[in-house]
């Protein structure tokens, strides 16, 4: 791990430049994710400023960018619609507390239990949901709406192939917003969805009744936000570790996400987490240190102040077009091939995760279900023991534990040879069930007058066996 000084000042020039690029790229997305969540654009912009700035200091993965994200926006849609902004802010603060707790408990270790089939299901369902959420913004719209949508998609797709200095989504916003204003075009804008407050973020206590009822309302959302936020953040951290060939402190990152979300909630921002796309933009642009994340946050604030009057004039189909492209790049297109080449159980887990997310509209439920199903598949896979017999010697291949002993007992009980040898060279005794199963088989066979010899038990199994049968 690098020293703190290296993490901050090891790459000053490139960090400043990449931070500026990220801030420019963040603006359209933060606005679009706010609209996705059903809150004022400033809520997402403030959240992005706060998350980036705080995470720069307390995060565990230098150069990772955290802000308002699509994943978090999707979780809070119903909360905002049913109870309003202040419940969202309270839920954001509670999310932070849960994340700090999970970080202290060492959540990073648990992340290793999440199989890639669930991760692929997660990113794909996220992409699908973001895409579906854009449809109402252009379907049934007028001709100009569709023209703007298509021009935006074209700009975002083609411009980066020739010109990389300014993020393409921002170019689309600038050109098309200007066009809409100058030509007085009849197209829905961000302003049509609600008023934009032009104050700077200030400390505020969420205006909610401090009752158990309130707690019961926000807790499910906070749990889902904590899970989804950490999942995406730790996946992003892993990707950045790989890209930069450096290590990161995942539990520190989890705690940092928590701290950032608490401050975020008190400053009027929506819950956020790390962003895979923006973090990759940062690294590709040369960002390596904490300074890049800090510059992204601070420069974003500068842009918010400078551009706040323009935000309301941004045409909605432009944001929808940007989000369509975000969805396209968030979708893991490699999973189409994966669906045909990966083991069937993995494909089943991926599809189940996606279907459950789409059905429940809840990323957290899909992920948790996916993890449970894949864990069951894993147990059933490793509980298969292969038993072959020649002349009274039974070779056991595969681990013996509570889920695999049944087949072992059933087959060995039927042994008819006068002298039975059980060869455990390719097996391992894991628990009380396995030792019990051996004792059971031996006594059954001996009752029938057969003799039994056990060979090839490895030292660990032998120690367990002797301990559990009471020998020492």
């Amino acid at each position: 791990m690098q020293t703190l000084q290296q993490q901050w000042f090891g790459n000053i020039q490139a960090d400043i430049l990449s931070g500026i690029v990220v801030a420019l790229a963040l603006i359209p997305e933060a606005i679009a994710f706010s609209i996705l969540a059903g809150v004022d654009p400033m809520v997402g912009l403030y959240a992005s400023f706060t998350m980036a700035t705080v995470i720069a200091i307390v995060g565990g993965r230098p150069a990772m960018i955290s802000a308002a994200t699509g994943a978090m926006a999707l979780v809070i849609v119903d909360l905002v619609a049913d109870h309003g902004l202040h419940y969202l802010l309270a839920a954001t603060i509670l999310t932070g507390l849960i994340q700090i707790l999970l970080g202290v408990l060492g959540i990073a270790k648990l992340m290793r239990f999440i199989p890639n089939s669930v991760m692929i299901g997660f990113v794909n369902s996220l992409a699908i949901l973001v895409f579906l959420a854009q449809l109402p913004h252009f379907i049934g719209g007028n001709g100009i709406t569709y023209v703007f949508l298509i021009i935006t998609i074209g700009i975002v797709y083609f411009i980066p192939k020739f010109f990389k200095l300014i993020p393409a989504p921002l170019i689309a916003v600038i050109i098309l917003t200007t066009a809409a204003i100058l030509l007085h075009l009849d197209v829905k804008t961000v302003g049509d969805l609600g008023a934009v407050p032009t104050s700077l973020p200030t400390f505020l206590l969420p205006n909610i009744p401090l009752t158990w009822e309130t707690f019961a309302i926000i807790l499910p959302y906070s749990l889902a936000l904590a899970v989804v936020g950490l999942l995406e953040s730790l996946l992003t951290a892993q990707i950045l570790d790989d890209m930069t060939d450096t290590k990161s402190n995942k539990n520190m990152e989890a705690r940092g996400q928590g701290i950032a979300n608490i401050i975020n909630g008190f400053l009027g921002g929506m819950a956020g987490c790390a962003m895979i796309g923006q973090s990759m933009i940062n690294v590709k642009s040369g960002g390596r240190g904490r300074l890049s994340t800090l510059v992204a946050g601070v420069f974003l604030m500068f842009l918010i102040v400078a551009l706040r009057d323009i935000v309301i004039a941004i045409p909605m189909p432009v944001l929808a077009g940007i989000m369509v492209m975000v969805a396209v790049s968030a979708f893991d297109w490699g999973s189409l091939k994966y669906a045909t080449t990966a083991p069937k159980s993995d494909v089943f887990v991926m599809l189940t995760t996606i279907i459950i997310v789409l059905y429940t509209d809840n990323l957290a439920i899909g992920v948790v279900t996916g993890i449970i199903i894949s864990a069951l598949f894993f147990v059933s896979k490793i509980s298969k023991v292969n038993i072959t017999s020649t002349n009274g010697t039974y070779i056991i291949e595969g681990p013996l534990f509570f889920a695999s002993t049944k087949a072992f007992i059933e087959q060995l009980e039927l042994a008819t040879e006068q002298h039975v040898t059980i060869d455990l060279t390719s097996s391992h005794l894991w628990d009380e069930s396995s030792v019990g199963a051996i004792v059971k088989v031996v006594s059954r066979l001996e009752e029938k007058g057969q003799t039994v010899q056990i060979i090839g038990m490895n030292p660990a199994s032998q120690a367990l066996y002797q301990k559990l049968v009471g020998l020492s």
Partner: protein, 139 residues
Amino acid sequence: MYQHIVLAADGSENALRAAREAVKIATLSPNTLVDIIYVASFDQARADMLHAASPDSLLLERKRKVATVEQLLLEAQIHYKVTILKGEPAPEIIKYVNAQAVDLVIIGSRGLNGLQEMVLGSVSHKVMKRVNCPALIVK
């Protein structure tokens, strides 16, 4: 002769052809080191991580990409090492080669992605233009 040869490999058929030429040249003198470099592209970083069971299995996956090339050098008893770089393929190869005393770069003429080559230009072409040492492009 050529003491330090850099061989760019990406798991493609063309990289294998380049490796065969590398073997021919390396066998000309006894102390040649063939430096096999594989660039894990930034654009693939997310997909790579999503499809790998763990960072360790990802490392293995990347090592497998150069395994056929490695096999070739092993059979010819040529001294070699494998280096995995991260970034955009062409600039990373160029940076690596120009940063040390390399006598020759050998690279296949066309990598995995035909469409990308049409739009972005080929990696081998960029490498040839910008390295400070002789380059052999293998068709």
